[in-house]
Amino acid sequence: MGKDSRLILDPLADNNPITIQVLGICSALAITAELEASIVMSISVLFVLAVGNVVISLMRNIIPSKIRIIVQLIVVATLVIIVDLVLKAFAYELSKTLSVFVGLIITNCIIMGRFEAFALGNGPWRSFLDGIGNSLGYAIILIIVGFFRELLGSGTLLGYPVLGNPIPGELTGLYAYGYENNGFMLLSPMALIVVGIIIWIQRTRNKALIED
């Protein structure tokens, strides 16, 4: 049991998919300008990675090694399309919110990375746990980055103005003291810098993570 729980806990910190394995950076940059988008993306990836890992793990003994990457890609794409179609038919509003993320999920390196590195060599239950663990590790970073980008970039959190009213002429809260939103935080490069700072802090605290 101790081994199984490590599958969930390791990716949260010392084997984090974003800061240690440096996978899934693309979506961490693209959609973290708002906290809400980060959360929606995290939940979507959680679902696809957990189910996909189980499917690949069940198929692991019959997948021809020469075309395994293509097979993995087909599994992710099929899963995502099925979810998208079902949502469009039965939960149209939700599907509209999520449709933007569909393309980002299919191409998310974490998913292919976990299929290749873990699910192909492990049983379904352990693969399931690995999927949950890694997507939670992904979620933590996305939510941290989304939190700081939305707070410093727009002065809001989940759409609620937490720092006051920034409109000239009716300044309230922090803005009344001359504080200004940093529009730069809304641009993708700042996500990279925030992720960089997280990596820096993490490796300063745990020297074992530093590679030679």
Binding site: I31, S65, I74, T78, I82, L85, V100, I167, P168
Partner: protein, 249 residues
């Protein structure tokens, strides 16, 4: 020893089998769910048109449509006429809202005449002329509905997109952006068609100046904003002859 799964023949058979299974599964799902998806899209069009003319359930700062159950009833109640403008002649058509603007744009490109749908709505004694628009954002299609009065002053707008960046370009469907268009003039002071430009740094973040043919842009969403500018200019200009006639009546 070579494993069974390494053989070429096995690889080919596996690939063919997988493609057949996945293909059949997706084709079956797509065709089984198609009627429901189409119905959802039909109701959404009605909700969009109603939203643009101010029939919606907006609360606080979030944009909310009327419910899908009520949409057909309210659509019949508020939309008095559905028009199709083709080659300058205007005809009534009760299915005008189903016209696919994307297909019509392709027709116009191919040199054929384009059908322009226009919806005439009435609410609280005021008449609204609602036109669909469609264009390109940064990643994919963007579209919307704009409600005008007879002087081509915007009374309401709804924008939507297929895949703009969440938090940036995707914000064109947020109320703070859509509501900025209300009251904006499409014509300039001389009565010429000017459109509405989504402008960076126009010094009017609260959008007090309704006559400047400009609204404030979203930070970090320049290309999506430019797409909105272009689709308003291009698509609404096509309705200019209709509005000119309306004025001279």
């Amino acid at each position: 020893m070579e494993k069974r799964t390494d053989k070429n023949s096995y690889t080919i058979i596996f690939a063919i089998g997988m493609v057949l299974i996945v293909g059949a599964l997706l084709a079956y799902l797509a065709s089984a769910l198609k009627p429901m998806i189409q119905e959802n899209e039909r109701l959404e069009k009605q909700q969009n048109i109603l939203y643009a003319m101010g029939v919606n359930e907006n609360e606080g700062t979030s944009a909310n449509f009327v419910s899908t159950e009520d949409a057909p009833k309210l659509f019949g109640q508020y939309i008095k006429k559905q028009l199709v403008i083709e080659n300058g002649s205007v005809a009534e058509d009760t299915t005008a809202y189903l016209i696919d603007v994307k297909k019509e744009q392709a027709k116009a490109k191919a040199g054929k005449t384009r059908r322009l749908p226009l919806f005439v709505g009435e609410k609280d004694g005021k008449t609204f002329y609602i036109a669909p628009i469609r264009g390109k954002g940064l990643w994919d299609a963007i579209w919307g509905y704009v409600a005008l009065d007879e002087n081509m002053v915007v009374q309401g707008a709804y924008f939507d997109h297929k895949g703009e960046t969440p938090g940036l370009g995707a914000n064109i469907k947020q109320r703070f952006f859509m509501d900025d268009f209300i009251g904006e003039h499409l014509l300039n002071a001389n009565g010429e068609f000017k459109g509405i430009t989504v402008a960076k740094g126009n010094g009017d973040p609260k959008n007090n100046d309704k006559l400047d043919n400009e609204v404030d842009a979203i930070a970090g969403a320049t290309i999506t904003g430019d797409g909105v500018t272009v689709m308003i200019k291009k698509d609404l200009k096509l309705y200019l002859p209709y509005f000119n006639k309306l004025k001279n009546k």
